[in-house]
Point group: C2
């Protein structure tokens, strides 16, 4: 039955037992992506970002939002390129570290022992040890406020054989990426399958 309680609720008394918790970015789950870029001297840098997503299928594009204060912001503005490196859960320490210090102050590759590899397609480094890497050329920036959106066209995706299905797509159970949940201090693993969207969407409706 369709019921629209038009205007019947107020901020003080939301319907359905929902409570206002304020205009905040409390919208889980968020991905944990490691963004690779070069500075003007050619030093490779990585930073961890979670305000990020796929944003277009054709051409294939991703968006990553960064604060102007980050080292990566200036790097990408100048180089017009970046990589997205997806860490497996085994690289959670590195991902957390990459998000805790600035490339202005330290060489994060040297400290972590991970290896930068220059992309053959764009002017950005990727992380050799990570199982899934996306190479992007910057196509647009959008100033929003504290964050600026960097929109990159995907020019290639590279994957370790060990995380691919027979069909050649990433198998998330092998990739084992993890997520960030705004409001929580922790990283969380991906869990079990709920079932296929096709089957789930066919179930009898109420």
């Amino acid at each position: 039955m369709l019921i629209i309680s038009a205007g019947a609720t107020t901020a003080e008394e939301p319907a359905a037992g929902l409570r206002s918790i304020g205009a905040k970015t409390l919208v889980p789950p968020c991905p944990v992506w490691v963004i690779g870029s070069y500075d003007a001297s050619g030093k490779p840098n990585v930073m961890t970002a979670s305000w990020a997503a796929i944003c277009c299928s054709k051409p294939p594009m991703v968006t990553v939002s960064l604060r102007q204060a980050t080292y990566t912001y200036g790097n990408i503005m100048a180089s017009k390129a970046f990589t997205v490196n997806i860490p497996s859960a085994g690289f959670a320490e590195e991902a957390a570290y990459f998000g805790s210090v600035s490339g202005k102050d330290v060489d994060k590759f040297t400290v972590s022992g991970l290896t930068p590899v220059k992309s053959d397609l764009v002017n950005a480094p990727y992380v050799k040890e990570f199982p899934l890497v996306i190479e992007c050329k910057l196509v647009k920036t959008v100033e929003l406020g504290l964050h600026t959106m960097f929109i990159g066209e995907i020019v290639d995706v590279k994957a370790a054989d060990s995380i691919l299905t027979e069909g050649g797509a990433p198998d998330i159970t092998k990739l084992q990426p993890f997520i960030f949940a705004p409001g929580s201090p922790d990283f969380y693993r991906i869990g079990s399958s709920i079932g296929s969207m096709q089957d789930l969407g066919k179930k009898p409706r109420k």
Copy 2:
């Protein structure tokens, strides 16, 4: 040790055992968000989207990319507002269904038995039964190709008491959202904690 193998790799022979799998949107994990909007007649509609993310902290903003062919595209263009409704795993069937049919053809609320509630803050409906709801006013659209990015400012977040921590933030283990993994037909649950970012980032480096 820092090693930059500048230009040493080719598309045919990527370093580190990484294999090119093409310029595709194979970038997991993606959120599963249900987008609420009204059409010109006031009929509430919901569609499921995964090309979506938080995109700015101040002001708080989210972005959702939609194809022009969707019913929701026209709705938001006209109403300048939308909601983001986060389903728990118990609503995976509804989320899959909302992504499988168009609001042009069916009334998804009536078919699913879920209840639209008119937001008191923006001109869009939210899903009464879902545990976390974000109300947004449209602030910008960005045409990218097959998809158009809708950027919305978060004007409020509403949550069920049952999913909140004592501190008033969503507890992801209670919320139980789920994710979409491009390349896989399945929805996946969120799994266990890996640990806090602060602790993970402090571990001794190699």
